[in-house]
């Protein structure tokens, strides 16, 4: 993998004060809440999706809109290498934020005397890591489709659409609509229940769905980026 491309995204993100502030608040506030409200536990930290979204928004689209992608691809770099590096860069970056957030939560709750067990924390952290890499793959696909931060808007629109489909499926008790809603949910929030695996009852369908979503999203993102006409004359 291309380490220059990996580090390049982190530099871009760190150069954006808004992203840095949002990310810092996301890392700091939930552990503080967890250390104040007893009984809320790891629910205070919630999903890892927002952490991934802050870093992932515009991961490819912003480079296309700003003309940076043309400069990157003027070098002998494969487009697939670029897409995969972006995915890994977002994944690793959000993973660091995830580990920091959980470590802070653990430290604060341990100081108050109500820290969850190490096993619970480890299972929670592993589940969120998987979710981060899953969301990063979904965002790679959305970002390859639309310029700028349009991927975030696309994510929000699909989220709302999925919610509506699921709601209609519930009220009409339609297994088909509910299934569609579930598939949309699996695309937007790919996850594997680590606790279920540790309990010895893994859902192979959930694991296959997760792996399939990631590989399909990355493959489609590469194919879409491969089809982009990026010469200076194209604009």
């Amino acid at each position: 993998m291309n380490s220059t491309l990996l580090v390049g995204l982190w530099r871009q993100r760190l150069a954006s004060p808004i992203r840095v502030v949002i990310l810092a608040l996301m890392v700091l506030l939930p552990p503080l809440l967890g250390s104040v409200v007893r009984g809320i536990g790891l629910q205070a930290l919630g999903d890892a999706i927002p952490l991934a979204l802050v870093l992932a928004a515009g991961m490819i689209g912003q480079d296309v809109s700003s003309g940076v992608l043309q400069l990157i691809l003027a070098r002998p770099v494969r487009r697939s290498e670029y897409v995969l590096s972006r995915w890994l860069s977002v994944g690793f970056g959000a993973s660091i934020a995830n580990v920091l957030q959980i470590a802070l939560f653990w430290g604060l709750t341990a100081a108050r005397g109500w820290a969850p067990s190490a096993e619970t924390i480890a299972s929670f952290a592993a589940g969120r890591e998987l979710q981060i890499f899953g969301v990063a793959a979904t965002m790679a696909l959305l970002s390859s489709l639309i310029g700028g931060l349009g991927d975030l808007a696309l994510y929000a629109m699909i989220f709302v659409f999925g919610g509506i489909v699921t709601m209609i499926g519930q009220t009409r008790q339609s297994a088909v609509l509910h299934g569609i809603g579930e598939e949309i949910g699996a695309l937007l929030s790919p996850k594997i229940d680590v606790a279920q695996i540790l309990a010895g009852a893994p859902s192979w369908f959930a694991i296959a769905t997760y792996a399939s979503n990631i590989t399909l999203c990355l493959l489609l993102a590469i194919l879409i980026v491969n089809r982009k006409e990026l010469s200076y004359a194209s604009g």
């Binding site: 009984g39 002998p76 494969r78 519930q170 009220t171 008790q173 009852a201 296959a208 792996a211 990355l218």
Partner: protein, 173 residues
């Protein structure tokens, strides 16, 4: 001299990714069909009680009741069971905050419901499944959550309702 183009061109699609996507897609379809035919056995971690036992424990412990109105044929109920009630963290939170009671509707299968199920469905005007009702012990109005809003949202609502019920009862112990 211009930089050399990578082997296979810059638009090369990695074969390993193509192969992995294909394998996982096939695995997804096969496991989906298998789990559809033979629904995965759920290891629910919430300690469900019968209506009578739950009511008695709620009275003695002062913990609010969590009534889960569901049905065997209800798809969202199964999703909720898998995502929330079989999840260790969520189950721990529910067991700690509530006295959980499950009430399964059998109207569609047998044409009638058990008396306690029918009575509680009528009392709380249950019209759809799943519906969760949180009943505080101090007699204040119950909280009703109709449908499955997703794990995160549901746990948020349950935690808020549970903490409220416990705060109304007195300091958290």
């Amino acid at each position: 001299m211009p930089p050399a183009e990578p082997r296979g061109g810059t638009r090369h699609v990695p074969r390993w990714l193509l192969l992995a996507a294909l394998i996982f897609l096939v695995a997804r379809i096969v496991t989906g069909i298998q789990e559809g035919r033979r629904p995965q056995a759920l290891t629910e971690l919430v300690q469900w009680e019968t209506a009578d036992a739950g009511l008695a424990r709620s009275r003695t412990s002062g913990q609010p009741l969590l009534l889960d109105f569901s049905a065997e044929w209800c798809g969202p109920c199964r999703v909720m069971q898998r995502e929330v009630f079989a999840d260790r963290r969520s189950a721990e939170a529910i067991n700690g905050l509530f006295v959980p009671v499950r009430l399964v509707d059998t109207q569609r299968e047998t044409g009638r419901n058990a008396p306690d199920v029918a009575m509680l469905q009528q009392r709380y005007h249950i019209e759809a499944f799943p519906t969760l009702v949180i009943v505080p012990t101090n007699g204040s109005a119950p909280t009703v959550i109709q449908g499955y809003p997703g794990k995160a949202k549901l746990m948020e609502q349950l935690t808020a309702a549970g903490l409220k019920a416990r705060l109304e009862r007195g300091p958290i112990r």
